[in-house]
Each structure stands twice: as C-alpha cells, then as structure tokens.
Subunit: 379 residues, 2 copies
Amino acid sequence: MKVLVLGAGQLARMMALASKPLNIDVRAYDVGSAQVVDPLSPSVSYGSLAEGITFADFITAEFEHISYDVLAMCEASGKLFPSSQSIKTGGDRRLEKVLLEGAGIANAKHKVVSTKADFDAALNILTLPLILKSALAGYDGKGQWRLKDKSEADAIWQDIQAFIEGDTSGQSQAIVVEQMVPFDREVSMVGVRSITGETFAYPLTENHHSKGVLSVSLAINEHQALQAQATDAFDKIAKGLNYVGVLAIEFFQVGDSLLVNEIAPRVHNSGHWTQQGADTCQFENHMRAVCQLPLGSTTLVRPTAMINILGADSVPNSILDIPSVTLHWYGKTKRAGRKMGHINVCGQDRIELINRLTQLAEILPKEDFPDVGEYINSL
Amino acid sequence: MKVLVLGAGQLARMMALASKPLNIDVRAYDVGSAQVVDPLSPSVSYGSLAEGITFADFITAEFEHISYDVLAMCEASGKLFPSSQSIKTGGDRRLEKVLLEGAGIANAKHKVVSTKADFDAALNILTLPLILKSALAGYDGKGQWRLKDKSEADAIWQDIQAFIEGDTSGQSQAIVVEQMVPFDREVSMVGVRSITGETFAYPLTENHHSKGVLSVSLAINEHQALQAQATDAFDKIAKGLNYVGVLAIEFFQVGDSLLVNEIAPRVHNSGHWTQQGADTCQFENHMRAVCQLPLGSTTLVRPTAMINILGADSVPNSILDIPSVTLHWYGKTKRAGRKMGHINVCGQDRIELINRLTQLAEILPKEDFPDVGEYINSL
C-alpha cells in the first residue's frame, strides 16, 4: 500500500514510522518546495504533486491549511481521505462553526465579522471579554486577539484590518469573534472513523498550554460522564463530515460540561501519548482508516503523559534513566518556539505517572520548559 | 548520533525504526553486496565498508556470522560494540562452550569433534541420543544432525564430512557433539548491558519452535526463581564477554533448572514481543547501550506474545480487528520458510492474552501457521 501525505512535517514522519511495520510506503508532499519527499530521509521521491498522486493508493493530510487547488487535484483522483470538505472545515473557523451549530454541539457564542460594521454589531451582542480569531490559517495562537475592554476595540480592529489585508492566500479571510469561555481546563479527544462509519475514541486528554502552544498532555480515563459527552460530540462531528481517519476535537471544560473549542481534521499533538499509552497509536489508526484496514483498539494501556519539546534540540540524557520515558525527536532544525520533539512517560497507575513526571520536571531545564514543573506540581 | 549495523536484514530495520525518534541515524552494511544501505529505504548510502565506518559514531551487528576481516576492520576503528570477541563467541559453538564452562554455567554435556577418531571417542563418552551441531554458521536448524542409534553413526559422519569439506568460509570448521537434553520447554532471556557494566534483563520468554525455527514466543513473568536463575546466567555471560548491547540466551528448562543452549550476541527474535510488551523495546535498548545512553527499563507492561510469519507475505486483515494486535512486516521478498514478519499481541492479564491468541489462531491460515493453533491450545 502507498500513501501520500499532504505536508512533510513531524506528523507525516510519525505516520511513516507507524506505517513501515504495516508495509505501507508513505511519502510526503512538501507544500513549500512542491516536491514529494521520503519523510524518513532527506531524499526527494518525485518532483511534482501530480507524480505523488499517481504513486499513491491513498492520499491524506497532516495539516488543514492546504491550498484549495491542491485539495481539488487530490480529491479528483478519488484517493483523498478525509475529504477536502473535512480538511477545509478544519482550516476555516466559519465552516467549523456552521458544522457545530448544525450538529447541535455546544460551543462558544460567536459572530463572524468581515467589516467594521460587523465588528461593532458583534460588540453589541456578545459579552466581553472576547477572543477574536482569524477564520483561516490561525493555529498555535497566531492570528488571535483578546478584547477585554471596549476601549481597546479600535486599536484591535486596526490590527485585524492589517492582518486581513496582508492575507495572500487568495481566499476570503474573516474574523470569528467569540465570547471567552471561563473554562476550568482544556481537554481534547482524538478518535478515528472508518469509511464504513465505525468509530473508536481514545480516552480524553487534559491539555496544558503555554503561550497558546500545547505544553503537556495527560490521558485521563477516570471521568466516564465526560468521556461519554466527548464521544457523543466526536461521533456527531465525524458523522457530519462523513469523516475518514483520525480527527481531534479540543474542548473547554466548564464544570461538568464540554464546549467545543475547535476541531483538527488530522492526527494531533494532544494524541502523541497514544504512541506509548494506547493499544494502537493515533498514527497507525489514521493509516488503518485511510487504507481501509480494520481500526485498532483505542484502549488506554496505562496512564500516560506527553511533554512537548519547544525550541530546544537537546534534553539531558539522564531523563532516559526514568523508566518508561520515551523520547521522540522530529529531526528538525532548531528555531525559537518550534515543536522539536516530545517526551512520553507512563506509569502503572496515576501516582507512578505523576512521580515520574515530577522526576522529569526536576531534570528538564527551566529555560526550555518554563512552566512544566508548575503544571506537574498542580496535578 | 550515527550507527552502522553489520547486516541489513529485519533486525537492522527494526533498530533503525526504534532509532529514528532518538535522532540516531542508522545505516546497514549488506554483507552480500558489500554496500552500506538505508535499512528503511532501498537507497544505497555508501559503496564500501570503509565509508560506512567513517560515517559512523558507533558500529554494531545484527548477526554473528560475519567474516573476521570485517570484524577486524570495524574493531580497529574503536567504534564496535559489542566487541568482535563477543560476536565471534556467538558465531562459534566452540568459543561459546569455553565461555560457559569458564563461567560455571550449566549446559549440555558435549565434545568438540573434528575427525572421525574424535567422533568415535565422543560416542563412547556421551550418552545417546546426541545432537551434532556445526561450530560455525549454524542457526535455525541448519548444520544440525540428530543421532539416536549408533547404527546411524557412519552415515551421519559422511554427511558431516561433506558439510565440513563444503565450508568455504576459510575458517576452521568443527562439530560440537552434545547430549540431547530431555527438556520440558525452551525459554530465553534477552537483556542489555551498558559500557559501564550495568545490566537489565527482560522477563523470560517461553519459545515454541517448529522445524528448528522459532514460531511463538510468550513473555512469562510468573516464575521468580527461574527469572533469578536466568538473570544470574545473563550477568555472568555478559560480564565474561565485557559485553555492550543486547544479548540473548536460549535455555533448556529441565524441571526447575535451566541449561544454556546457546547465546546470540544481538537483538533476538524471541525478544520481538518487547516492542509492545516492555517499557523499552530490545531494539531501542540495544541502541541506547551502543550509543552510551542510559539503559531503558525492561519491565513487562502487560502479558505479550509474538507469532512469527514464516514464508507468507500476507495475513488476513481481520486479525487487526483483535485489540492490541500489531503487525510487523519486514518488507522482504517471499521465500519458503523465510522470516517475513511477526505479530505481537497483548492482554491485560494472561487470560485475556490467551483469549486473543486463540482468536488469532482461528483466523491465521493453517497452511502458513501449521502448528500455532495446537501450541496456543496447550497454554
């Protein structure tokens, strides 16, 4: 079996690593160079997307911000899973909101804004504080503004206007203005859906962010009611998209209720713990779904957490002395804040896991992991 | 970190897969073509061993039947782990027996035989039935004879003589004549030793062979006395060799005692279950030892078994419906009896594992897995 992944970053790399044992040959389309590469070596496989499409039995994506031209070419081949509509919905907050509203899934109160008049109208309807997010190409905290006081509105609108005018994607940009949700914590669910509509959801994950970027994920398996609520949302969203593959949903937890923050039509950073903590990892399950193989069990094997390595290209070797610690480097060049790798760690029970996380936090340098210790101490 | 593996088969491939997340770049020296290749792609990296040695920070091996010239070249670079002496000992039953006797480790009563006169003398000292094994280049049942009755001795000697004369290795061949051990079962231990002498042993594995080739392995964690006995043998043998890396020891179990059958100075087929069943898999632990990183915990995560795929290049997809079943193909061309891949399966406890093994045996075709069902039913 041969699979082309749109995007050639760490997610394509980890898909390729999970695919080798299944004899699935994965190549990645690098949108920057417009070449098809081997995600496990620096070698170029094909010089064009068209050749990559011909090579592949199936095509999938590692990110949602893909030009519509590329998606159209792939979809025309009949090999693209999930569909271009699923990918576009993940990449456009307007489509995402329409999907959530249509499926009756709780999410933050919001308005779509394109003009100053829309913006002023939204300010009159919504309750401050607000979070303003670009409809397209916003992730990891980019293209986001916070409005706490009406006096800041004009200055923020000028910023937004410059942002919209600077958009060179050729697609129509807009802003989704949302009421800030006073959430207790952020959780996410990664799940997988087959072409026949079968779904399996992984246990919910508690996510700790730092400056808008995921820092620590912790698989939580002890809240059956929350798990059921999230699974219901997952099933509705995945069905609404006629989705094939792994899909991630980020939620705000407020009391005992979950509100969808956003969806990602792909394997997700908050699911990296599944490499060591689940019966089948998210990368293998995505490939199983895309290649129309049976889905794998998503059962938690043992409590597991993940720590992102951001902007650092080394960690002390002594972390490998801690049992069950697994290092996952992405082979990327160091850049401030860049996702360079992650660390997975497991324990037979939550207490052992937290002990090991505490040991990790003591070893990891504060300058590279500024808030990890504080979060772990709060567990 | 860059590692050259001597040998370019499935063990090098699985070492490379386990090494990618650690940012360890693995290349493999294919002794057939005398080229250095990328074990994860068909590409040739270097045209000669010398270039491969220059590329590498460390050198290791996936098999023990390597020409002494190659070993000498690698050892001269100061990068070879384990040492050439360790590799040679695994590849020569004479050296192996000297090591075991020297360390006072129980093994089958035996004589080394080079001439008809040696052979006749051995027949007078040892008790039938006997197993005769070539000192060099014997594995998976090749270069082995069984002598049950003295009347067969002349015919077998003629066979052996032809075998010795046909040896083109340039090394002195001989036969180790051993008393057959009336064993209850075959078990093995895989363990790892660091350059500083630290050792970690995995749980013992029960091995079921079919026609001399490993068919099923089952991690067994419930016999503390046996585990202690095997660990003691492992520590003595590894220390005797001043070993660095993963080392496997095959034992005959007779009652509550273990006799060493043979050692393998490398990752081992009976340790493949560690990919899903242990805190750190044998491939990663070998690389950690060779690259002088901290060793990983060898703790059993949950009961796990492995089934070899021999001579078949497909299995029914429906085995992937069984939770925790993981397929590992080696990407090799099909040939009768060839090791093509393996299947790992886990359970939260032994009962769940055996239930899943039973489901597997019902799906796997009898023609490709002739004796697996019978063995699993016997558990």
